[in-house]
């Protein structure tokens, strides 16, 4: 199927998102679509598949002009869409999730469960996925949920599959599996639109790349004719030097120490520490339990085994409010669901954990608050008109900066960052890395959980590798490399 989009315009209210986008998808190619957060990539694909309606422009499919009224129509026409936001029903089983709104029925209108199972098993085999079909989707890890979404799209026998950041929640092993599938789809003539912020992936799997900036198409080039730096320049509109800013680690005393930390059935016997001015990277496969360890450490999951020390003092972290008082900050992996009050202005979001520090006589001192917030917004270069803009109107990268600003505001001793750059574009990523450096220079200890190995290697002073709920090994900056981390993450041994 050949799709060409010409001069697409779209505005949400007064927000002009697309201002003349052109793009062409050929038969059997893997076409990368890149651009900064908020460039309009997802919006373009949503319009193509009938979820939003365009204001202007034309879609031509195999030579004929075509506009879909709703996603179902697009799907019936052979265009499947794996959305950036996961569309799972946590209370339904995996099987039910796979077949929502396309259940096969008997002539009496009853659902044929057996037939559904057969189709699903076949599909999972192709993807080498082994999720039990009767498991509730809510009990699956984010990565598993992503695989369900992928399977769902493949089941439709689509001729074009749009993948909007499919790898954001996957680790390298799953990504490899996904690439195998993409290659075999391509071989059978299926076209793929692949949206991602991860450069390495783009250069591994894609044939051509279209870059978008500020609602326009910059250009489309075959992958062999372009380079990493070239793409970045087109995306951000200026030259960007190194991906990772230089670090001059200078670590002090251990600020946080964890001994024998465990929670029944989730993780056990976790020991590590984090020193002032140090970045500790935490790597592992999807579902290894990294997030769970951090949640427990922050008092989010209640009772735990083992001991936690802050500044050498044994502490009992029963809830987040105690964690915050102890000087811990937690940037979670789900910034929309857990990091931000989306309806709040930026100001209120940033001030939330530090309300106490500018409250006098039980009243919030609004001037002090405003100054405090303005300072942070400036320091983190949050791109916004004013501090009164609601958080939901910011792009992903800027939202992430707001979350970080909010925690910098409490003057933390320890900052836990869980997947700090997931879904964040290269430009914003670099700024976040720079911030992390600034923080460590001021003596903050940073624990960075990440599934992006280049990031772990590029930023960490020390790397902890988690495997099935235990720390499988610890590597220092010099000895850490991709291979050793993967070996430990998959249960292997590394000597040294």
């Amino acid at each position: 199927m050949k799709i060409s989009m010409e001069n697409i315009h779209k505005a949400f209210g007064t927000n002009q998102v697309l201002e003349g986008v052109d793009m062409e998808i050929k038969d059997g190619e893997v076409h990368a679509l890149m651009g900064e957060n908020g460039a309009g990539k997802s919006t373009l694909m949503k319009i193509l598949t009938g979820l939003h309606q365009k204001d202007e422009g034309t879609f031509t499919i195999d030579g004929e002009e075509k506009t879909f009224a709703n996603p179902k129509e697009a799907e019936q026409f052979g265009i499947a869409f794996i959305h950036q936001e996961l569309n799972v029903w946590p209370d339904l089983t995996v099987l039910e999730n796979l077949f929502i709104n396309k259940e096969p029925v008997t002539k009496f209108g009853l659902i044929q469960t057996k037939k559904m199972k057969a189709i699903a098993n076949e599909q999972f085999e192709k993807l080498a996925v082994s999720i039990p079909l009767h498991k509730e989707a809510g009990e699956c890890s984010v990565g598993e949920q992503q695989m369900i979404e992928i399977a769902k799209a493949l089941m439709t026998d689509a001729k074009v599959i749009i993948m909007d950041e499919p790898s954001a929640a996957l680790t390298d092993r799953e990504i490899e599996k996904l690439f195998d599938v993409i290659r075999s789809l391509k071989a059978s003539g299926v076209s793929i639109v692949y949206i991602s912020h991860r450069m390495e992936e783009i250069f591994t799997i894609c044939d051509r790349i279209t870059v978008m900036r500020d609602g326009h198409t910059v250009d489309t080039t075959p992958i062999p004719e372009t380079s990493f730096d070239d793409v970045v320049r087109k995306m951000v509109g200026r030259e960007l030097t190194d991906r990772f800013p230089e670090r001059t680690p200078d670590s002090g005393e251990a600020v946080l120490e964890v001994k024998g930390l465990g929670r029944k059935g989730v993780f056990q016997d976790v020991n590590f520490n984090a020193r002032a001015g140090e970045i500790v990277g935490v790597a592992g496969l999807m579902g290894a339990g990294r997030t769970e360890i951090m949640r427990t450490l922050f008092g989010l999951d209640g009772k735990y085994d083992g001991e936690i020390f802050v500044n050498g003092q044994k502490v009992d972290v029963k809830n987040p409010s105690q964690a915050v008082k102890l000087g811990l900050g937690f940037i979670t992996e789900d910034r929309k669901g857990e990091g931000l009050v989306l309806d709040f202005p930026i100001k209120d979001n940033i001030a939330l954990p530090s309300l106490r520090s500018f409250t006098k006589n039980s009243l919030i001192q609004e001037k002090e608050e405003q100054e405090f917030v303005d300072l942070l917004i400036k320091r983190l270069t949050v791109k916004t008109e004013s501090s009164k803009t609601e958080a939901k109107n910011l792009s992903g990268g800027n939202q992430q900066k707001v979350v970080i600003a909010k925690w910098i505001g409490i003057g933390p001793k320890v900052l836990i960052l869980d997947e700090p750059t997931r879904g964040v574009d290269v430009g914003a990523k670099r700024e976040i890395y720079q911030l992390m450096n600034e923080l460590t220079d001021r003596g903050v200890a940073i624990i960075m959980v990440s599934s992006e190995l280049p990031e772990v290697l590029g930023m960490s002073d020390r790397v902890l590798v988690v495997h099935e709920g235990t720390i499988a090994g610890e590597l220092n900056r010099e000895e850490a490399d991709q291979e050793k981390i993967m070996t430990l993450a998959t249960g292997g041994q590394v000597n040294g």
Binding site: N87, V88, W89, I100, I111
Partner: protein, 318 residues
Amino acid sequence: MDSAIKGAKQVGNITQKLGPFVGLLALIVVVSIFNSSFLEPLNLLNLLRQVAINALIAYGMTFVILTGGIDLSVGSVLALSSALMAGMMVSGLDPILAIIIGCLLGAVMGAVNGLLITKGKMAPFIATLATMTMFRGLTLVYTDGNPITGLGDSYAFQLFGRGYFLGIPVPAITMFLAFAVLWVILHKTPFGRKTYAIGGNEKAALISGINVSRVKVMVYSLAGLLSALAGAILVSRLDSAQPTAGEAYELDAIAAVVLGGTSLSGGRGLIIGTLIGALIIGTLNNGLNLLGVSSFFQMVVKGVVIIIAVLIDRKKAA
């Protein structure tokens, strides 16, 4: 370890499903210890008949709550549709035909709710709060505040609320039949699946191409239809249509749904739970009467029982 966790989870799942049932059994045991006449056949038949009205309304409420909504207007829909039915009967229409038309009118009232919620984008709570007031007012206007009587003595009509078939009260039979039909709709048809999908994740349902508005309108219509059916039973039982019928019935129906383990935030629950929930409430009402508990204390006990039941359910879920 993995299989142990799985095992534990499955047990958890089963007790979750059985939870309301165990509660009902416990309640029955307690009541029959204190008053042996509870278990007499006639009382059990009475109990089933008494439960039927709330159960029917609560079935519809289950669908509504599964989509993440709520319907406060069920009692007023019951009142208005039963007044209209009675009006038709008085004017000489065949009672069974009147009931059928009345049920369809109930469905139309439900559709009004559905349209306000989908097309009007109103919160279900507010939309149905407004129609609750409105339909009640219309009932009073239509009946001029008086009961409608003189419904004739069609045997079939009398049977509908008062009769027995094979020794079982007809309302109870209606209740079980409706249960069977609705169970199939909810668990075996795409419509049922969509109901769950909308409540579980409305955005995702929309993206999956589900016509969310249409499903919702149908769900609220179903709730209206079932309320009207309950109203028909009431009209036959009371041999009249009461303008004040059905007041506060929404609360009993919601309580039945929740006692049955359905989540108020939508997407999770079973209709069998609702039937059991309705039986729990009915047993409580009947049992407390049999035990001679004063009506004032009955209210206190009912409140406490709901709290305990839900708390136990929470404990299990955790």
